[in-house]
């Protein structure tokens, strides 16, 4: 049985269901509203597994599900060497979100990463500690800043309301997901640089560690055919 993991609630679940329906595969929740059970029609041998979107990368990596729908940001953040663990079968065209770095708007001297680095050096000399960047995307942000040679910063964990951390004095800058930038503007922050740290969207991922028997491969070929036919 091929196990397909999809987000268990909200807009992401609805869009996932729509995306598959457009390709001739019907996914549905069954039972009561509160029961996390599902059914799949239109393709043979597939079992629906409803999961929190944030847990799907881990389940894919552990091989407990064969396919999974989740954001590329979560896969890259949560999986070390993600490209050796999962493979993207399709970009799904929804769930768009950019991971960006933002600083207070009144920092008119800071427009680029090079500026941020220089400001961080001066900040550390002035305040005696490193410039703090609040985020929950530790791996992505650290890799990005290392790649671009930014030093004298530190990451502080923020699992929500990250845009407020600067005003609250727990961080000097933030790295977070944004789709419209509205919340950033409301919190007097501006985005740094032209390209985001990562432009994320929902992907259909295939686990490279799951047990792929004949039956699962046959179901995969069928799904793959239907996805490609619609492309």
């Amino acid at each position: 049985m091929l196990k397909l993991g999809v987000p268990s609630k909200g807009r992401l679940m609805e869009q996932t269901f729509e995306w598959f329906a457009e390709r001739g595969i019907q996914l549905a929740r069954t039972g009561s509203d509160r029961e996390y059970a599902g059914a799949v029609t239109g393709v043979e041998g597939v079992e629906l597994v409803l999961l929190s979107a944030g847990e799907i990368p881990r389940e894919l990596a552990a091989g407990r599900i064969h396919l999974g729908v989740t954001g590329s940001d979560l896969v890259r953040e949560k999986l070390a060497r993600w490209d050796a663990t999962v493979e993207s079968l399709a970009l799904m065209g929804f769930g768009h979100a950019d991971l960006i770095l933002a600083v207070p708007k009144f920092w008119v001297d800071v427009e680029t990463l090079s500026d941020l680095d220089a400001a961080a050096a001066a900040f550390r000399a002035e305040h005696g500690h490193r410039l703090r960047i609040a985020t929950k995307y530790h791996r992505l942000v650290r890799d990005y800043l290392r790649q671009h040679g930014v030093a004298d910063y530190q990451l502080v964990d923020s699992q929500g309301a990250t845009e407020g951390t600067v005003k609250n004095g727990t961080a000097e800058a933030i790295a977070d997901i944004t789709s419209t930038g509205e919340t950033l503007r409301a919190n007097h922050l501006k985005i740094l640089g032209e390209d985001p740290i990562h432009a994320s969207q929902a992907n259909l991922f295939r686990s490279l560690t799951a047990d792929w028997g004949e039956a699962e491969l046959a179901s995969l070929a069928q799904i793959d055919g239907m996805v490609k036919a619609a492309a």
């Binding site: 060497r81 220089a118 400001a119």
Partner: protein
Amino acid sequence: MPDRAAIRDEAHRLRRAFEAAGAEPFEGAILQPADTLLDLYGEDIRGRAYVTADPLRGEQMLRPDFTVSVVQAHMESGRGEGRYAYSGLIFRQQEENPERPSEYFQTGLEIFGGDPAEADAEAFAMIRDQLDGLPVRAITGDIGVLIAAVDGLETSDIRKAALRRHLWRPERFKALLARYSSTEDLARLRGGLLAKVKAGEDVLAEAGPEIGLRSPAEVMARLGRLVADAEEPPIPAEQVALLDRILRLRGAAWAMAAPLRELAGVIPSLAEAATRMEARLAALEARGIDLDTLEFEGSFGRTTLEYYDGFVFGFLVDGQSRDNWPPVASGGRYDEMTRVLGNGRPVPAVGGVIRPEQVLKLREAQC
């Protein structure tokens, strides 16, 4: 593949050899306070060390090396000179090279105080003596030459400090150097902002409310530095080309002091670096090191942890790419770190480590 008990025994045997050569044994804790290491290495260390939490002591790290705790212990002792040997497990995440072990034995040696050239040669020779007869080749470098070259550039102290800060990040260093030597109008790049600052306009008036710890005064101070920097003449192309030549120097170590002397014609501060190098070479020769087979690379030691600031060395497996084989031994001088950990009191320091597992592997391959 040597077994773990054999590796442990070899690690301790090497330490006793260092002790026999005059070092005192050092025993440190595996759990280290994370803030010291974070402060020293920056956020990158989180991707390389294991972090754990103690309910009372806060964030702790499994030691990624011994050096930091040896330096701390020595600085606390208040002594000038000291020689320490240690052996034990260190812990490193290996996300980039999962085939490498994430906990392994290390034997090391740290020398504090004394004449720098003599101490450099002593540390190098003590490690070399333990690798005698193994198929390894020694490569040396000198971060002090790079620092001297940067210090001698015809440019502002602010630019020199920025370049020094990024010596260990080659990409950023290159980008900075390109900007500082560019003849382009730097003020133009910021869309007139610097012109307004110069004209005394209030550029923060419309910029939004002040939030966070970084104050408007700090923003204005940096703008002031940018205005001054835009007026700074470019670093002469001749000097940039010379930095490039230093980074590309490669060859027998004994043959390197002469070209440095020559380059001192363009950057005078290199003369001192050449003198230090000559003193070190003489000290190495006096300890019986064959200078003919000792290699030198101008960029060696630039991409390791950012604390070496003078002589650096590594012993690599002969005929093997350094990407596939971690060095059998490595080390270098780190005067600046003692100043940071010693609250401003610097003590010259040099040290190195051997990986006993690599030593055993090479010895097994010889049988």
